[in-house]
Symmetry: C2
Subunit: 300 residues, 2 copies
């Protein structure tokens, strides 16, 4: 394993221990929904988004615990909710997620819908809690920005709606514009949020905030391109999900649009641009730069 | 119409005009989800929760626009999300809501799930916005309390999980305890939130805040009892939904538990207690007192 892989691995182990505390099981029969929430959140994952929150926060001397970690936990809960709902029969109808039964397969559909709702709701409860920052203005900004990034207006929900539409888009659709918009809204906004949250927590000056936003935009697109490449040539075992699904569904992706070679080249350039955006922080941002490289080198 | 009915009607007309502004339609194909959100929110409703926010806020001299109205709009969005998700085939599988097709019938299941998610998310975006209060501490408290009241730990989601469980509860279940817990979590918490939000907006002294919380608890239970009574002897036309559903599903309700006569008596006593809790405000709380009476006298 490379150094950044080790760091990510170490972080994810610590983070898993940390986030588990937010899911105490109630006594009554309603505990089923908390079990489903916990099952989905604790089901592996690279913890890329909380890692980005914590590494960006570090640039601005924000304490890891509880400020950065709790913000990261809120974001990871929101990410998990989106996976649960995306996997539902009415949406992507997936049976496997990271090699395990999806939430509605392990529990049932009603419980999965409620578990997603519960994680989304809990995410805002965490963010608005004093532990995140003594400054209520900071907490409100974090809440407002997350709601916007995850919302139905140019946010994650709009991205998912567009993604569903894309499966049956008319022949004359501008595919390039469409997949760029889906990436930007469905995955890009939350990755950008992860980095911006670190800057908000640290009350960063605007120039530095813009630098991490720029970095996040670039790695966001690179991440999606890498995902599309892995869908074509990744290992099903490592990925823990059905591959070649995009092609089977006739879905436009960065790979179907540009071909493997050009897609790989684009991702490489984006990673270089992402690293360059962090120049202002010099060596203090080394981990974030290594992470950018890792995003396109990963095998799962 | 009685005076309170006129007031409610007038309020709901103004509120409908007001809340519509929050649903501008985007240009892209993702507008479908916003159409579904708007369809569900604009589909009638008594606007009881925002009315409670605004009337309670008035006790503490909070401006109606935008502070109280925007808080009420956030709460109504959250309430609408819960109705959309509760109506889904995997949940209560309802085709009609207020005499119109439910969201998944009018659109489709995927869009309805996303529309619910979108309204829940937008609710927190509204609450954390500066228009609600210049004091970020107030906004954070509103966000945190709403997330808690709507959440999976003793909140609305826990109530819905328990309600689903109740349909197949074992024979030896303590039905009285069960339906009281469902009422408290599924509907009670949000009604309490409506009144408490008014007190938070107005930075009310603790004694007055407790008075409105107490009022809200009592009318919350009375409201549920009245609903159970209407399910048995209401007019299907006025209610705009399938009646006698509880009995058909063999579901325990306040009526099945205590009988019509005793249930009616309990609701009456709760309303008297609710009105007495507001004694501290004397005549300034007349509208809230009239509302308490209306809750058990309404025909829909």
């Amino acid at each position: 394993m490379t150094d950044i892989q080790n760091r990510l691995k170490e972080f994810s182990l610590r983070f898993n221990d940390y986030i588990e505390q937010f899911f105490p099981l109630p006594d009554g029969a309603e505990k089923r929904v908390v079990e489903a929430m916990k099952y989905s959140v604790m089901n592996g994952g690279k913890r890329l988004r909380p890692f980005l929150v914590c590494e960006t926060a570090k640039l601005f001397d924000v304490p890891l615990f509880p400020a950065a970690a709790q913000t990261g936990a809120a974001l990871e809960m929101l990410h998990s909710y989106s996976l649960i709902h995306d996997d539902l029969p009415a949406m992507d109808n997936d049976d496997l997620r990271r090699g395990k039964p999806t939430c509605h397969k392990q529990f049932d559909e009603a419980t999965a819908i409620l578990a997603g709702d519960g994680l989304l709701t809990q995410s805002f409860e965490l963010l608005s809690h004093k532990a995140v920052s003594a400054d209520a203005g900071v907490r409100c900004e974090l809440v407002n920005l997350l709601a916007n990034a995850a919302g139905a207006y140019n946010g994650m929900i709009a991205g998912q709606m567009l993604d569903l539409y894309a499966e049956n888009a008319p022949q004359d659709t501008d595919c390039e514009r469409l997949i760029k918009r889906i990436e930007e809204m469905k995955t890009g906004r939350l990755i950008r949020y992860a980095c911006e949250a670190g800057a908000i927590l640290g009350r960063a000056p605007m120039e530095e905030r813009l630098a991490v936003i720029n970095y996040a935009r670039k790695i966001g697109v690179a991440f999606q391109i890498a995902d599309d490449i892995l869908d074509v040539e990744g290992s099903q075992e490592l990925m823990g999900k059905t591959l070649n699904k995009d092609a089977a569904q006739g879905k436009a992706t960065f790979v179907s649009l540009y071909g493997l070679e050009k897609a790989r080249q684009m991702a490489k350039e984006l990673v270089e641009e992402a690293k360059a955006s962090l120049g202002i922080f010099s060596t203090r941002a080394q981990t974030l730069k290594d992470l950018a490289d890792f995003i396109i080198e990963r095998r799962s």
